[in-house]
């Protein structure tokens, strides 16, 4: 089932009546979620990603715009008629019911022609439980389960009525680091097995990048970029997206373009064409540096962190927006810790220019 969001907008009236300022949580969001894909809605808190999810679920009504499931306009349809499964951030498992009762609960609500026999319900519940590998825990209470297990129960409960669309709100935020890795693979597996169009919300870019077919990066209610994770990473449309994706984060420096050369301080680091002379913001991915004795970029060396396969070189440069510049290079390269400066050349495809005012990407060609 593809999901189409058309000019979706949500405006919350201001809480403080005197200030009278309304909050635009989601602004003119248009996107077609392809059938059977896993989509990550990504952004810092308050970017409107959860609001978008709740509008798809029907728990919140859009101020304007439309939502389609396939060809059906569901904008006015209430939640229960949309046929969605929703996994809440805190799972919202009913604490007084066993795992089985929790999973059965949605089925017991079906009525009319959808009504199932007792045996059918049991069968479906066990299938869902098997899918998320909790069929051993059916008689337990949620309080007797670990966070990861609760998460699986919540997913089973969402899947048991065979939803057209599965929605997950920050599915991993309540798990510890190890479980998070494991669970995100699990979500990927379940999504692949069921083939249900799935949308999940997260503020963790690594999480979104690692399992999504597509990611949607949002900021203050406005969609910044939509695309496959690697494409978005390699080709950010603006400084925000570039900064938001990637660990360690991108290095941001101030510089200028003059006569077809990009300058950081006095160093002409790259020759480009197609860019007018102007002050720019420069983004260099940590892996975009290359140690080069004759390299154009001079930085003051402060530290080298060994990470096994790679080393991370920490240096400073007066043009840097952040105090430190971090580069990641292959550990085969030897760095002389005694020297005061480190010289780099840069890889053009990891080197981005942004307009200083609008922070939009400035595209260039390498000479």
């Amino acid at each position: 089932m593809k999901v189409v969001l058309q000019n979706l907008t949500k405006i919350f009236p201001s809480r403080d009546k005197k200030a009278g300022k309304e909050v635009v949580a989601v602004n003119d969001f248009t996107f077609e979620i392809p059938d059977g894909k896993l989509i990550g809605l990504l952004g810092p808190s308050g970017c409107g990603k959860s609001t978008t999810l709740y509008m798809i679920s029907g728990l919140q009504k859009p101020t304007s715009g439309k939502i389609f499931f396939g060809d059906d306009d569901v904008t006015e349809l209430s939640t229960e008629n949309r046929g969605i499964g929703l996994v809440f951030q805190n799972y919202a498992l009913y604490p007084h019911m066993t795992v089985k009762q929790n999973i059965l609960f949605p089925l017991q609500n079906l009525k009319g022609k959808d009504k199932l026999s007792k045996e059918e319900m049991q069968k479906r519940a066990y299938e869902a439980a098997k899918l998320v590998q909790i069929d051993e825990l059916m008689e337990r209470k949620p309080s007797e389960l670990s966070g990861g297990q609760q998460q699986r129960v919540a997913i089973a409960r969402a899947l048991v009525k065979m939803p057209r669309v599965l929605l997950l709100d920050e599915p991993l935020s309540n798990l510890d680091a190890r479980l998070r890795l494991q669970t995100r693979e699990e979500i990927r597996r379940i999504q692949k097995e069921t083939g249900i169009t799935t949308v999940f919300v997260t503020h963790d870019q690594e999480e979104a990048m690692s399992i999504s077919d597509m990611i949607v990066v949002m900021k203050l209610g406005v969609v910044q970029q939509i695309g496959k994770p690697q494409e978005v990473y390699d080709d950010p449309t603006n400084l925000f997206v570039a900064k938001f994706l990637g660990t360690p984060p991108i290095n941001v420096l101030e510089g200028k373009v003059k006569g077809g050369k990009v300058y950081i301080g006095e160093d002409a680091v790259l020759e480009v064409s197609g860019v007018a002379d102007q002050d720019v913001v420069i983004g260099i991915r940590p892996e975009g540096f290359e140690l080069d004795e004759n390299g154009p970029l001079h930085c003051a060396l402060s530290n080298v962190e060994i990470m096994g396969r790679d080393v991370s070189i920490v240096s400073t440069n007066p043009a840097s927006v952040n105090p430190l510049i971090r580069s990641i290079i292959n550990a085969d390269n030897k760095v002389d810790l005694g020297s005061k400066t480190v010289r780099y050349s840069v890889k053009p495809h990891k080197f981005f220019l942004f307009n200083k005012e609008t922070e939009e990407r400035i595209r260039y060609e390498v000479k």
Binding site: T79, Y94, P95
Partner: protein
Amino acid sequence: MVDNKQQWKAWLYLAPAIVLLLVFTVWPIFNTVRMAFLENYSGLKAAAGMQFEFGIGNFLKVVEYKRFIQCLKNTCILCVLTVPISTILALLIAVALNSIKFLQKGLQTIFFLPYVTNSIAIGMVFAAMFNIVGSFYGTENELIVTAGIINNVIEFFGGQHVNWINYGSTYEANMFVMVVYIVWNALPFKILVLLGGLQGINKQYYDAAKVDGTPRRRVFTHITVPLLSPMLAYVVITGFISGFKEYTSIVGIFGENMGPPDDAGRLNTMVGFIYDALETNSQGRASAAALILFAIILVVTLINNQVSKKRIHY
């Protein structure tokens, strides 16, 4: 030693409380038990130097006492009627209150009002409201006297006025008035606790239920009530305890007479029995009755705890 200093200081801070507790709480526990087990103990006779034998005569006398059985019966009837009625009403009101936004605060305040009242004073208002239309002090006195608004309303709708609380009124009518008054009095606390409980339930449970298309009734029986069960247990148990200690609300409506003018003591309760015994200087009997009351409250509490353990699963 710092430790020793702290010990010493702690006891100093606790001293006033401990002294008062020893005199007015600890000693009474022992002494009341002692008096209960001394045959026909009386404060006056004890002061005169009389000795009493050990025995369970006081308890036997209390139980055999016709008045006591009447008191026990009244207390139990009041409990059994008022606790469920007030709990269910309070639950409905709390759920309704929780589901609205407009006027919520104002209505909540109104529903709490009966709490901040003097149960004797407002009892007098209820007595006025339930007063009879017609004659009182028997049929021989034909003087038409003060009407009560309740009977006015009944007659307005074409009904026959009821002798609720006056001379010649029936036990059932008396009890009805008491139940109405006690429920009215008990609602605020229960609504307050249940509403607090409802507001403490995570909204996500309701969102989850909505996603699954759960009908309203099922949300109420399968989600709201179970999640509210600790609060429900709490209001039921406190309801029973205060029900077994009912006394002043009856004084409020019927006065010290504890019944209509022609049948004093008809509505007397356990607590009333204890005070009556105390006033006739039968401390032994009063103590025995107090211990019986304590035992009942203890048993009710234990039963409730057991039921709660079975029914409240988390």
